[in-house]
């Protein structure tokens, strides 16, 4: 006996177990997607915050020199005497290369050690927590980071063989400290050494790389920050650890922004999957609701039963979804850590769980209301008899709405996500998420118009190859456009996210490689291991190296390049972080083919020799400077009124935030420092191998912390760097693809339920099991092919359009189609989609004819 009206809802859940399970599965996928992505996003974010926090948890302010290690020795004492400063300590940094037992340097990040030298008595600049051995106190001894040491088998008492700025040595480990629970910096090792020994080992007798400050009164930090800023002038940046961490993530290619992007996509796809699961059974539900209405149930009662059912399904699906999200995120994170991607352990926040739960429950309720709403609008008896309209041709208005949602995101997304976005902060980020979600919603709404023609088109060969199954399948798909589109669109969206992501990385890599070919018209680059130009080249290349290479008979051109990160003068909007590059106007053109806008190379370098500057395109546009304008540059050593000679017609370092001047001008304004790199060209192509081996021998023997790169190495390094960044996002993309595929299975399975009676009719009319099964498989084949093709096309379109947006803020970027990846994923999706359809198809073909006919 039924005890109450609402118990009908529970009865429904039980008598339609498969429908309940599949709907809950849809909710689970949606919630899992949202939660999994938010967890990954949170973890990536937390990794950086945690690193900053564990190094500077007690520190209120950090002073970092512009350029390389250039805070004056006396600045520390003056800071200590500044009002409001409690304590301050300075730090010097040195990069060392570990050596193999045979004395050869270990290549890449794996061989690098960053050693911080600081005073071991009193206040210390870092919060390193000792876990084993003892703290460094005096002499040449080091303390190393726990995870790094464990992975490389170092323990207290061991000696690490290294090469540094002053030659080779063995550094004894006296202690092991903990930095964060989890960080894996991709092989780079962190260590600390007492100040006096460090100054000797690093060859840095004077000056500081960083100064850490603790305010006397924590509430007083902003005031102290202002005073210290005033004190150090433009030669250094004064930041709180929080600001510093912001800046670090900004440098990681707008990390936050990209993570927001994925969160937005996850929210959309998750919600969409849930809605879809309900939409698939809308007819069946309408019939049930209509029946209740004919029996005299009020609209409210009918809705009530729907709510109860949705709450149960939503709750079960949400709980499972949280588990799924957790499993996906932790799996991917251990995968990423295994691949040396710098990411910490899984970081679970209540915020992400709450968001996922809200999405699950709210969308589930909405999804359940939809059939109730439609049933409410159709006369009950029509709902019961099932003659309510099914095959509505999608209305023209739909297309207009779709376009209105799709186009803004398509048009502005690029400049939003990759452009000046980092300056505009949280509100704009929200706007961007909304715009992107709207764009995908537009895609979903427009899907019937796009996917149906594609299906019609691919059904031609399929009808020929598979006369019966193919024809039945094509007819079934074409005759219910909305259902077909809804099934395919999950895959379309998933795939387009993949294509957008990989076309972005392909374009970055491709464009930069093209430009590296131009800019690196040289045979070799000599630089300090472990530092990039953007970091000013670290300790740089001693002048003696330049002299010794010039003395080699095979050497043709040796061009020194100085690099110095700084706040560029005259920037009117957005970040003014940039880099000054000092070059030799005579040698540089021989090793650097970078083109300039409107002027020849000869004119450009002649202008530099006269004391002028060449500007990167982003810098020129942000500062509103053109050829012929003048620019005042001011530095610790002097000032100069410089003529703008022209703009650089390539992206270059710091995404075009570059000011190029002659070495002479640079020394005059910013003081002299050794070059960040040497560009070396052999006298002739035949002499290149000889030059390479002689230079290699010279560096190995006398300068073990320097490395030599060929132009091809440089290209690879740039490519690797970009790919590493995008790989982090690919983990998120994998979630999108898995979830979309599961979504396709789910919608197919639900579509089998909805069509149980139709399948019974087919069987009664003499369709064999095999025909029914092949019909379902053909349907899936066509849906996944169409979904993939449209996804590839849409992703390419979005990638292309967004690239244009990037081009506005980061000139010179051109679109590169991610051929292999996109096509591989599409083919995999089709294959998996068909495999996925096997279960629903089996179920369809095994239905008992009589039962199927009696199915309501």
């Amino acid at each position: 006996m039924l005890r109450s009206f609402n118990s009908i809802a529970f009865r429904q859940l039980r008598t339609r177990p498969l429908r309940s399970v599949l709907t809950a599965f849809g909710v689970m996928l949606g919630v899992g997607m949202v939660f999994g992505v938010l967890l990954l996003v949170g973890t990536i974010r937390a990794t950086f915050d945690e690193l900053i926090d564990s190094a500077w948890g007690k520190t209120d302010l950090i002073v970092i020199g512009q350029g390389s290690g250039t805070i004056n020795e006396g600045t520390l004492d003056r800071i200590k005497q500044t009002k409001g400063v409690g304590e301050a300590a300075g730090m010097v940094g040195g990069m060392f290369t570990r050596l193999e037992p045979d004395g050869s340097p270990i290549d890449g990040n794996e061989g690098q050690m960053l050693i911080a030298g600081y005073e071991t008595k009193g206040y210390q600049p870092y919060d390193f927590r000792l876990v084993k051995g003892e703290r460094i106190s005096a002499g040449t001894e080091i303390m190393v980071e726990q995870n790094w040491a464990r992975d490389r088998g170092y323990d207290v008492g061991d000696r690490v063989r290294v090469a540094g700025p002053t030659g080779r040595t063995r550094l004894p480990i006296v202690g092991i400290f903990r930095l964060t629970s989890s960080l894996n910096a991709g092989g780079l090792g962190y260590a600390a050494m007492p100040l006096a020994a460090a100054r000797r080992a690093f060859d840095q007798p004077k000056g500081w790389m960083q100064i850490s400050i603790v305010a006397a009164d924590r509430g007083d930090v902003p005031a102290v920050q202002r005073r210290v800023k005033h004190l150090v002038g433009s030669g250094a940046m004064v930041q709180t650890p929080g600001e510093f961490s912001e800046q670090v993530s900004e440098q990681l290619q707008g990390l936050n922004i990209v993570l927001y992007f994925f969160s937005g996509v996850a929210l959309f796809v998750g919600g969409f999957l849930i809605l879809n699961s309900f939409n698939m059974t809308v007819l069946q539900r309408m019939r049930e609701l209509g029946m209740l209405r004919t029996l005299g149930a009020t609209r409210g009662m009918a809705t009530g039963s729907v709510i109860v059912e949705a709450l149960v399904i939503g709750a079960v699906g949400t709980v499972l979804g949280l588990l799924l999200g957790l499993a996906m995120a932790s799996g991917l994170i251990s995968l990423m850590r295994g691949m040396d991607v710098p990411v910490g352990t899984l970081h679970v926040t209540t915020g992400s769980a709450v968001t996922a739960v809200l999405v699950g429950m709210v969308v589930t309720l909405l999804g359940a209301f939809w059939p109730a709403h439609r049933a409410g609008r159709t006369p009950p008896i029509r709902a019961v008899v099932g003659t309510a309209q099914v095959r509505r041709r999608p209305a023209k208005l739909r297309l207009v709405v779709a376009a209105a949602l799709f186009l803004p995101g398509l048009w502005l997304g690029g400049s939003f996500w990759f452009g000046g976005s980092s300056e505009t902060g949280g509100l704009a980020a929200m706007g961007g998420i909304v715009m992107t979600m709207a764009m995908f919603a537009g895609m979903a709404i427009a899907a019937p118009f796009v996917i149906l023609p594609v299906i019609r088109w691919i059904s031609v060969p399929i009808r020929h190859l598979l006369p019966t199954g193919g024809r039945l399948a094509a007819d079934a798909l074409l005759s219910n456009p909305l259902r077909t589109a809804a099934t395919a669109v999950a895959l379309t969206i998933g795939l387009s996210v993949v294509v957008v992501n990989s076309s972005m990385s392909a374009s970055f890599v491709g464009t930069i490689e093209d430009q590296v070919d131009q800019a690196f018209a040289r045979d070799f680059t000599v630089q300090a291991q472990g530092f990039t130009l953007e970091q000013g080249g670290g300790p740089g290349v001693p002048r003696s190296v330049q002299r010794k290479i010039e003395a080699l008979p095979e050497a043709g051109t040796v061009a020194p390049v100085r690099a110095m990160p700084l706040e560029l003068p005259g920037v009117k909007s957005g970040s003014n972080q940039g880099i000054a590059m000092g070059v030799d106007p005579v040698q540089q053109p021989k090793v650097d083919g970078t083109p300039f806008k409107d002027i020849s190379q000869a004119e450009a370098y002649a202008g530099l020799a006269r004391g002028g500057v060449l500007l990167g395109r982003s810098y020129a546009s942000k500062a509103g400077l053109e050829r012929g304008d003048t620019l005042d540059i001011v530095g610790p050593a002097g000032r100069q009124r410089a003529e703008v000679v022209g703009t650089i017609d390539a992206i270059g370092p710091m995404a075009g935030m570059e000011m190029r001047l002659s070495l002479a001008t640079m020394n005059k304004v910013y003081g002299s420092y050794q070059p960040a790199e040497l560009a070396v060209e052999a006298r002739s192509a035949e002499q290149r191998p000889a030059l390479e081996s002689k230079m290699g021998a010279l560096l190995d023997r006398e300068y073990p912390n320097l490395e030599m790169q060929s132009a091809a190495d440089a290209k690879n390094e740039v490519g690797d760097e970009i790919n590493r960044t995008f790989n982090m996002f690919n983990a998120i993309v994998i979630i999108a693809i898995i979830v979309s595929l599961l979504g396709v299975i789910n919608t197919l399975a639900m579509s089998v339920i909805e069509r149980t009676r139709e399948i019974g009719v087919l069987r009664a009319l003499g369709a064999s099991r095999w025909q029914v099964r092949s019909t379902m498989l053909d349907e899936s084949l066509m849906i996944t092919i169409a979904g993939s093709l449209v996804g590839l096309a849409a992703g390419t379109l979005i990638g292309y359009a967004w690239m244009r947006g990037v081009d506005e803020v980061m000139p010179g970027m051109t679109f590169h189609f991610p051929g292999p990846i996109g096509i591989a994923v599409a083919v995999a999706a089709v294959i998996l989609g068909v495999i996925a359809a096997i279960l629903p198809a089996r179920r369809a073909s095994r239905l008992k004819v009589i039962e199927a006919l009696a199915y309501e």
Partner: protein, 253 residues
């Protein structure tokens, strides 16, 4: 003389076991000649649908033999039964069971699609049948755009597309008002006369039954007599007598 259209011997159909055992058919011997139009009547639950399903090769009996046009079902596997359905039998259901997403004409041609027959004559045949069931002006309509009677006439046209020898209809007018019922029955009768299909129709409506040549009665899974067609009153009285004998049986269904 050719074999009878349908011949069953000692047909039994038992659902469930033990306490819940139901003898839906309990020894049915039935012979129907080719070209006959026969109505089956009986109280609700008397086994009418079960009999039709077995004859239509949708279900296999627990025991007993059945032959349609001389072909015995015993020993045929699912594939062969499917082919038999496809090539020799047409179905008309109480709930029309048209595919909601196909137009009237598409629904009618569905059996040809299933049988992989694509000759142009099929389309002509479909048009012709739709004309016969008086729906030439509704060819491109979807089921949802048709009345119940019209939908049922589409399903009759569908059942007849490949000119099966046998047409089985389970309460074809059960969901229709009297005027629509009349139209559907007229169409069935006409087709039986003109094309010579054997038609077996389950109904609880005496007026409908009277259109048939013969009315067979079923009660508790057994044959319970028959009357000649033509007179609704005769059929109704016979049915009533059956029901008064078995007072435990509820309303006719």
């Amino acid at each position: 003389m050719s074999a009878p259209a349908i011949e069953t011997r000692d047909l039994h159909m038992i659902y469930g076991a033990g306490r819940t055992e139901v003898r839906a058919l309990d020894g049915v011997d039935l012979t129907i000649d080719a070209g006959e139009m026969v109505a089956i009547m009986g109280p609700s639950g008397s086994g009418k649908s079960t009999l039709l399903h077995i004859v239509g090769a949708l279900e296999s009996p627990t025991s007993g033999t059945i032959a349609v046009a001389g072909v015995h079902y015993e020993g045929l596997d699912d594939k062969e039964l499917t082919a038999l359905r496809r090539d020799h039998i047409g179905f008309v259901f109480q709930f029309f069971n048209l595919l909601p997403s196909l137009t009237a004409e598409e629904n009618v041609t569905l059996p040809a699609v299933i049988a992989r027959r694509r000759e142009p004559a099929i389309r002509e045949r479909a048009r012709e049948l739709l004309e016969r069931v008086r729906l030439s002006d509704r060819v491109d309509h979807l089921p949802a755009e048709l009345s119940g009677g019209q939908q049922q006439r589409v399903s009759i046209a569908r059942a007849l597309l490949l000119s099966p020898e046998l047409v089985l209809a389970d309460e074809p007018t059960g969901n229709l008002d009297s005027r629509s019922s009349r139209e559907v029955l007229d169409v069935l009768r006409e087709l039986n006369r003109e094309e010579g299909h054997t038609i077996v129709m389950v109904t609880h409506d005496a007026a409908a039954a009277a259109t048939a040549d013969r009315v067979i009665f079923l009660r508790d899974g057994k044959l319970a007599g028959e009357v000649e067609g033509g007179s609704p009153r005769r059929a109704a009285e016979y049915l009533a007598s059956l029901q008064s004998e078995a007072e435990h049986e509820p309303v006719p269904g």
